[in-house]
Amino acid sequence: MQTTAWLVLGLPLAGSILIGLLHKQLKGKAAGYLGTAVLAGAFLCTILTLISLQDRTEEERQVVFVAWDYAKTVGVDAQLSILIDPLSLLMMGVVTGVSTLIHLYSIAYMVSDKGYNRFFAYLNFFVFSMLLLVMAANFLVLVIGWAFVGAASYLLISFWYRRKSATDAGIKAFVINVVGDIGLVLGTYFIFKHSGSLDFLTTFEGAEKSFGEHGNNDLTAGCLLLLVGAFAKSAQIPLHTWLPDAMEGPTPVSSLIHAATMVTAGVYLIARMHPLFELAPTAADVGAVIGAVTLLVAGTIGLVVTDLKRVIAYSTMSQIGYMVMGVSSGAYVAGLFHLMTHAFFKALLFMAAGSVIGAMAGQQNLDKMGGFRKAMPFTFGCFVIGGLALAGIPPFSGFFSKDEILLVIGEEGGWHWGLYVAGYVGAFLTAVYTWRMIFRAFFGEACPEAKELEGGHLHHAEVHTNPANGEVEDTDVGFPGSEHHIAERAPEMKVAMGVLAVLATIGGFLQIPKVTHILEDFLEPTFADSHVHHATSDGLLVLGLVLGAVLGLAGIAVAYRVWVQQPGTSAKVLERFKPLHTLFVNKWYFDELIGLVVVRPGAWIGRVARSSFERIFVNGTLVGGSTGVIKASSSAVRAVQTGLLRSYAALLLLGLTVVGLYFLLSA
């Protein structure tokens, strides 16, 4: 098992390095196939590791492999080690599996881009860092993986680096991620202060002893700081503003990073740290509340956004809110189950969106789309499956996972009922905005590009422009390629989307309540020490299932009425609720708030520091002072070199006198 576990990490790293070194030599799609093959190998190794883990007995299912021991040098038990247990294997499986499919998709999607090889090198590097994150066995490796993931995300968001909007988005994502990194590291410090060990298993086993039966303030502070890190990575309020902007990256990037893997890192973190969160209920409650708030806010914004990818991005934010709410409240299995199913259908939705954008020759605005149903049947089918799963319609996977979370929250009682209600309101909103997107893009009057496609010709843009602001671009390195691809014509894309569609459909059967509990049994060893006790009341269960299905269908019906049956309805509703609409369109003014509270003071401090401290102290004293001293002393020494014979002779004489004086006095 050790070999296969390390291979899971090593293969993507090797792929990334190999593609990076050979990026000038690899021609055509070679880099794509290499990257995909490497990941397929990693997925295979994950399966093998899973099999060999399941061979062990229940008690021995948390294994640590150490590659290098730093303990002797640093004084802290820092090791380069990985932890193989059911939780990490679940994450590894999701990451490698979905990544393989997305790599397959990208082989065809990115074909005409001049930065093709660079793309696959970056993508492999991202997968490596994500795997490092989920396989970490101590806080040190976790932080390393966390930081790498942020860096990979930055590289991929600003992939088309000659677009200013893309580079701005990359910087925004990176800066907010760094805020999260700081939270993570500080949280680690607070926890380490009491536990004395960086290793996960050691910390968790000794948690009650180190922190006391009911936790202490340091633990709460540490968990809150860990939450800051989780929120930054998972785009929860208030650190969420980077996610919509991150749609500047190519669609496979959005699909992999901002749907399935990186944004779920926060959820993984809370699930992994569950012994600590259970001892610090304040932090857990904060997590649950923020998750609920995020899912509502993101849902409302999703109702009014007009960019296709941004709708899906806000839906991601909302669904991650569900997951965060779930794992913070103790619904670990449910939350992780939703993570897995969400990875399937969200990646599928993004891939399908990429196909539609390809048909539109790079245009992403929903206002300009319509009637693609006849021209792109396969893409439409994928959208429908993904939309049904997202809206929570049985028997698709989203239904089972989402309702399980809300069931556990409902059972908590007390003020958690507020979260319960919020969850179902969010489910309704989810259905509405998801199907708004589908109806607007695929139903109604066919737009010119759709008509062209029906005639068998894929629309090409004569002049390549930036879809956001209409600036003219060329198709050289740093900008998107000249050609766009749709699923119907690219077999790789079709295969990837097909597999995900199947998974989105049948994935729910892993954990049908009361019927199958494969996932629960699988994850049992990790969460065995959890104190949260679930007494599932059947009444609430049935209520939840029915309510979920009803709300989902109701949402679809509302969307159908507003956008298909009576096309003018949305304009009328907009008129009546103008202030609300303005609030939603401006994303609840979070960007402006952050700009006012953080960016402007920061810039002001920078300006003040530059004009005062830097100018006076650094430039004047340190730099100017040292050069001034050297200049003065060297010019003083230079003054001796007059070139005059007489002055040299005079100095000689003076020296002679001094020497004579010395001997005279020392005698």
């Binding site: 070199q641 070139g643 005059l644 007489r646 002779a649």
Partner: protein, 99 residues
């Protein structure tokens, strides 16, 4: 007429010669002042020879005279060569090594 007096006179002449080397600008005169210093040294040597009663100092003085003669020869040759090439005969003008 102790030996001290001779040594004092020698020191005086030496210092006068040194002051002259520093003060004058004509290289010929500088060489002359250099001669003064050498002669002062000779006087001291002879005085010490008288004090000790052996002739080592006197032989040393003779050799000093030889060296002084050689030095004057070469120095004057340099000055003549300078004059021939229209270089100004003034040590203050010759400051190419400045800086």
């Amino acid at each position: 007429m102790n030996i001290e007096w001779f040594l004092t006179v020698s020191a005086l002449i030496f210092c006068i010669g040194a002051a002259g080397v520093i003060t004058r600008r004509n290289p010929l005169v500088i060489l002359l002042c250099l001669e003064l210093m050498l002669n002062a040294a000779n006087l001291a040597l002879i005085a010490f020879s008288r004090m000790h009663g052996n002739h080592d100092g006197q032989v040393f003085a003779v050799i000093v005279m030889v060296v002084a003669a050689c030095e004057v020869t070469v120095g004057l040759g340099v000055i003549v060569a300078m004059y021939r090439r229209r270089v100004p005969i003034d040590v203050d003008e010759l400051r190419e090594l400045q800086g």
